[in-house]
């Protein structure tokens, strides 16, 4: 480990399990006899802005929980980059989710960029909930050289309640963990960011009406789908601000009742007569 104190920033959207990873990682470091400081980002921002955690560990005591430049940054969604970009220095190792973030979103000229397509792997192979376990395993192996079995024990202990409720979840989580621990990180050549939030409007028209859906405002709450009286809405493939699917509209089925607009909390959908 590079310095006396190693500084880590973890960032993503709320719901991606950033604080869960941070807690597990901190406990793992304590178990390995380090002094550890972990603070989640506080403030009213904690609801609708990226979720960030700051971790430091050292063999000697840590005197101050804040820092300017990180040794390791892990970032799992594009919107979070802006929040944590200032912590990336020329010697910072950056691990990102290449299935949600394209390489060119990092404006910094940093050659220490590494990736694992965690969201894609989770969605397509290990179950959506395991995206943070994939990221955690890749981080702990590649940047901290943390022993595999010891780390899994802590994960199993921390997520024990969830695993007890759902046995297949536990099995999938372990598979994801094993896979990611042995995954050789992407560098220079990255997976396509097909799970990134869509920046473009969705516009659907027929002779009577026009529907507009704004993925970068949609939080995937599903209220519009619930409130549509004719089932003209369902979740599609395009992703919204939190990486959740946004509704798709069957414009011919729609009767223009206005409910989706009326109930959408985030001004992300509206249908109007032509």
């Amino acid at each position: 480990m590079k310095n006396d104190v190693t500084k880590i920033v973890l960032a993503g959207e709320g719901g991606q399990g950033i604080q869960t990873i941070a807690k597990i990682l901190s406990l793992a470091l304590v178990k390995a006899d380090y002094f550890v400081s972990y603070i989640p980002q506080f403030g009213p921002e904690q609801r609708g802005t990226p979720s960030v955690s700051f971790i430091q560990f050292s063999k000697s005591q840590i005197t101050y929980p804040k820092f300017d430049t990180a040794d390791i940054v892990m970032v799992l969604r594009r919107r979070a980059i802006k929040t944590i970009e200032s912590y990336i220095g020329s010697k910072t190792d950056v691990l990102f989710d290449s299935s949600t973030i394209a390489r060119q979103n990092f404006t910094l000229n940093n050659s220490r960029l590494f990736a694992i397509p965690a969201t894609k792997l989770a969605e397509e192979e290990f179950g959506a909930k395991n995206q943070n376990i994939l990221a955690l395993a890749a981080l702990a192996k590649n940047f901290l050289d943390y022993p595999k079995n010891a780390l899994w024990e802590i994960i199993a202990e921390q997520l024990g309640k969830k695993f007890a409720k759902n046995k297949s979840l536990a099995g999938k989580a372990k598979e994801a963990f094993d896979f990611a621990y042995d995954f050789s990180l992407e560098s220079k050549k990255f997976t396509k960011a097909e799970y990134d939030t869509s920046d473009s409007l969705i516009v659907k028209k027929n002779s009577q009406r026009v529907a507009v859906i704004v993925p970068k405002y949609c939080k995937g709450c599903g209220i519009c789908i619930l409130k549509c009286p004719v089932n003209a809405l369902s979740f599609g493939k395009t992703l919204g601000v939190y990486g959740t699917p946004v509704p798709e509209i069957d414009i011919d089925k729609c009767i223009n009742c206005g409910n989706c607009y009326r109930f959408c909390p985030d001004c992300a959908i509206r249908v109007v007569k032509k």
């Binding site: 009213p44 609708g48 709450c221 109930f263 959408c264 909390p265």
Partner: protein
């Protein structure tokens, strides 16, 4: 028709830079704010509206609109609004607060504003708990409802029944005051109730209070369908519509 752009599904007076908002996915407060924006648009009062927000999740709306927004303290959006209105009588002044702010720490301010007929509109968001701090039991928590501080369900014999704010305020409010309850379950009715309340301030220079039943999927730990199911239960306990005085004449005359 407007050409489709990112503001297509937004009331005009909304600040598009506040999007995506700070509210959780599926938050009822966000639905309420959108409808408040619709009423401000249709009443054509954007240039003279001032919103005073409380502590609680309402503070997440500090940049929601393209009109003035004042941040007050917990339970203090009403007295700040009253003072502001005294100084700037031509403004349309709206205080926005949670049920904790309105009925626990700030109740005396609300009661006296209603009693004095201070010409402001108090909007109280009733989601049956303290949301911003993690879903603790509030006066409005209904019997047997599970919250983080009533993990076995609210015991009404110890903590009292569901707190009916508008009904309480009605008993001492000036007769010109407009007092009603709406629900995010019925946005069209919510629009017309908010409109009436704003007109009562503009035309009659009088106090209005609107409680709005809302959903908090984060603390309720509900999905869309479950949120609206619980809201329907709340609508049975907390009836929606204008609230009328129930005390008899005699007690008022005393």
């Amino acid at each position: 028709m407007k050409t489709p752009n990112e503001q297509f599904a937004m009331p005009q007076c909304l600040n598009s830079k506040s999007k995506p908002s700070l509210f959780c996915p599926g938050c009822g407060e966000s639905i309420i704010l959108k409808h408040l924006g619709n009423v401000v648009d249709s009443e054509n009062i954007q240039s003279k509206t001032t919103l005073v927000i409380d502590i609680g999740c309402t503070l997440l709306s500090w940049n929601y609109f393209n009109f003035d927004i004042i941040q007050s303290h917990h339970g203090r959006s009403v007295p700040v609004s009253v003072g502001y209105k005294m100084a700037r009588g031509s403004r349309v002044v709206i205080a926005l607060m949670g049920d904790g702010g309105a009925y626990a720490i700030g109740l005396q301010s609300l009661l006296h504003a209603a009693f004095r007929n201070d010409p402001i509109l108090a909007i109280v968001i009733n989601n049956t708990e303290y949301s911003m701090t993690g879903g603790q039991m509030a006066p409005t928590t209904v019997p047997n409802e599970v919250t983080t501080t009533s993990p076995l369900g609210k015991n009404a014999s110890i903590f009292g029944p569901a707190f009916h704010g508008p009904e309480l305020v009605r008993q001492i409010a000036n007769s010109k005051a407009f007092i009603a309850r709406a629900s995010v379950g019925n946005p069209t009715l919510m629009d017309s109730i908010i409109t009436k309340a704003i007109e009562n301030q503009q035309k009659n220079n009088s106090f209005s209070m609107v409680e709005i039943l809302s959903i908090c999927p984060t603390n309720w730990k509900t999905d869309a369908a479950e949120s609206f199911e619980f809201l329907a239960k709340l609508e049975k306990i907390y009836p929606v519509g204008e609230v009328k005085k129930t005390l008899d004449k005699k007690s008022e005359d005393i």
